[in-house]
């Protein structure tokens, strides 16, 4: 009961202080606006910076998504210690049969494709184009998000029979002056003729990274390439789900270590990297960058806070008589403290609100800058909460000193003040 009454009293005191503060701010409109400019600029810049970084992050994440978040890349890798440190590449290279049985031993892996690449000049009639000849297995179609635009994907028969068939990209089709419907036409590379069975969508151009490869691509069955060329290979495996990618990575590692007969304690002679992991690392980094940049810009909020403190001190000294009178008619020091503190907080919150609106304007402007990769910029909800929280915090911290000064005034002295 007593607690309830105390809370009720406190609530009343607070509401009354809010009304008093509103009246005071309204009475000094011009001064209030000038006072809050520091906070307005602070909040506007913090939110705009956060919005821009959020937009940048969203773009990078979208790029990652297009790479596929459930993929695991497998490749040979020379360890920097142990007996394989001096091994020749031939010994370290992934061999196609090393991956046999991987699906049986790695339950989190649903499919994988071996891949091998080599550059070659492709020819059709008079036209010659430098291209990357890429050997893939049929599972590639289910791992990479690149639909077949025309014709058909590779089948198991293409692979097992090592047929001389190929898939081209639309840009290749154009560069070689192939027919509009090029299915069944033959192009030559690596000293053989290959029949086109389909047209595959071009690879996504990476916006943020800017490393979209310009090379034209021609796909042939892995086995077909392997028969002509025994170079390096790598593999891409897909896990059941993005969440299971770390699990899948561990299973693959275990499987390959056993295949390669690596003793416990010996380092891996291969690499297995999950995109999901890069994604998480990037997320962490992006969050850090956002916080640090936001924090640095947040310093301007402190400057704004000093402005608030200054004006509150002026307010206290020019209202000394009023404070004296309020005390004489029975205002407790706590009531005076709350009055001035609430006034400072209200000023800051108003500043925060206006700053947020300015921040939104800035963000709209930033998003409209062409080619800046910031079109996804927006102010996240947490940044809104943060701005208001910070504004209120600045109000409390910088309003406290003037408020304490007011609360401590001696009523007799205050009433004598001129």
């Amino acid at each position: 009961m007593i607690v309830f009454r105390l809370l009720l009293g406190l609530g009343r005191l607070l509401i009354r202080s809010v009304f008093l503060a509103l009246g005071q701010i309204w009475a000094n409109k011009g001064r209030s606006v000038l006072t809050t400019i520091g906070i307005v600029i602070g909040v506007a810049s913090v939110t705009a910076v956060i919005a821009a970084l959020t937009g940048l992050r969203a773009n990078v994440l979208a790029d990652f998504e297009s790479l596929g978040v459930n993929k695991i890349y497998l490749h040979a890798s020379r360890p920097d210690k142990g007996r394989h440190k001096v091994a020749r590449w031939n010994e370290l290279m992934l061999q196609p049969d090393e991956l046999d049985g991987m699906l049986d031993h790695c339950p989190s892996v649903v499919r994988f494709t071996r891949i091998s690449e080599m550059p070659a000049a492709a020819r059709f009639g008079e036209q010659t184009v430098d291209a990357r000849i890429i050997g893939i297995e049929p599972a590639w179609h289910k791992i990479e998000d690149r639909p077949i635009l025309e014709g058909r994907p590779f089948s198991l028969i293409d692979e097992t029979a090592a047929r001389a068939v190929c898939l081209v990209t639309p840009s290749m089709q154009e560069a070689l002056h192939l027919d509009r419907n090029c299915i069944g036409q033959r192009i030559r590379f690596l000293g053989r003729a290959f029949r086109i069975v389909g047209v595959v969508e071009p690879a996504t151009q990476f916006g943020v990274f800017g490393i979209g490869r310009k090379n034209e691509e021609v796909f042939i069955p892995f086995r077909t390439l392997r028969k002509m060329f025994r170079g390096g290979m790598y593999a891409i495996a897909a896990s059941r789900s993005p969440e299971a990618s770390e699990e899948a990575r561990a299973e693959i590692r275990f499987f390959l270590r056993r295949k390669r007969k690596l003793a416990p304690g010996e380092p891996d002679t291969f690499g297995a990297e999950a995109i999901q992991k890069f994604l998480e690392q990037f997320e962490q980094m992006a969050t850090m960058v956002t916080l640090v940049a936001g924090g640095i810009v947040g310093i301007s909020l402190l400057v704004g806070g000093v402005g608030i403190m200054n004006i509150m001190l002026v307010s206290v000294s020019e209202r000394t008589r009023e404070i004296g009178l309020r005390k004489a008619v029975g205002a407790r020091p706590s009531a005076i403290l709350l009055q001035f503190l609430v006034e400072a907080i209200m000023l800051c919150l108003f500043g925060g609100l206006i700053g947020l609106l300015c921040g939104q304007l800035l963000t709209t402007g930033i998003a409209a800058i062409p080619k800046a990769q910031l079109e996804r910029s927006y102010i996240p909800a947490w940044a809104v909460a943060l701005s208001f929280g910070f504004s209120a915090g600045v109000g409390i911290i910088f309003g406290m000193f003037p408020a304490i000064k007011a609360a401590r005034l001696d009523p007799i002295e205050a009433l004598r003040h001129e």
Binding site: G9, R12, R16, G23, A27, R321, E322, G324, L325, R326, K327, A328, V329, G330, A331, R332, P333, S334, A335, P411, I412, L415
Partner: protein, 248 residues
Amino acid sequence: MMIQLEDVTKIYKMGVERIAALDKLSLRIDENEYVAVMGPSGSGKSTLMNILGCLDRATSGTYQLDGQFLHKMGGGGLARIRNRRIGFVFQSFELLPRLNAIKNVSLPLIYSGIGWYGRRKRAREVLRRVGLGDRMRHRPNQLSGGEKQRVAIARALVVNPRILLADEPTGNLDSKTSTEILALFDDLHRQGQTIVMVTHEEDVARHTGRIVRMADGRIWSDRPRDEDGGRRADPAGGDGERKEGQPT
């Protein structure tokens, strides 16, 4: 007995010097008394008023109001006493310039936790009582000196104080307005209000029922009005004023 001061001493430190503004002063004021406190400046009458009004605390001695020992109370307790039991009227009115009469009058009620409606109702009643029924929405700068002082008196009365303390309430007013304000005090006294008033003027003091004369922080004469010897008996020479800095 309503107010009892016993051996009240107030010492101010001015650097190394210690100045006794009140020197073992004892005073008793009963219910419904109308007391004038007179004396040259520096005689300690303002200090006495501050202590009576709980704005200040005595260095030593006891202060009893309605049987409650106030000299033992903390700041919050004294604020409550000022809020509920004491009404202050100042020489310079001390109205808040941005607030209208009703809001100025209801100011003390804010601090007694009375709701908006109750405050307005009470403030209207009191303003009517002091004869300002038609000036309720005026701001201080739209009021004459006498009207300002009436608003200030209404503000002092709005909490139904046990005692009304007035510090030279007519000091800033012309003689005609002074007479009106004094008539208002007389009225209030007749209605049962206990009043303590500091004044310089013998004419003003004549309105009261008891005159307390002070000098050097002590009371040297405390008599009913009709027995008071007037300024002729003043030991300071009868000019009613003293030079600042005179040793006390």
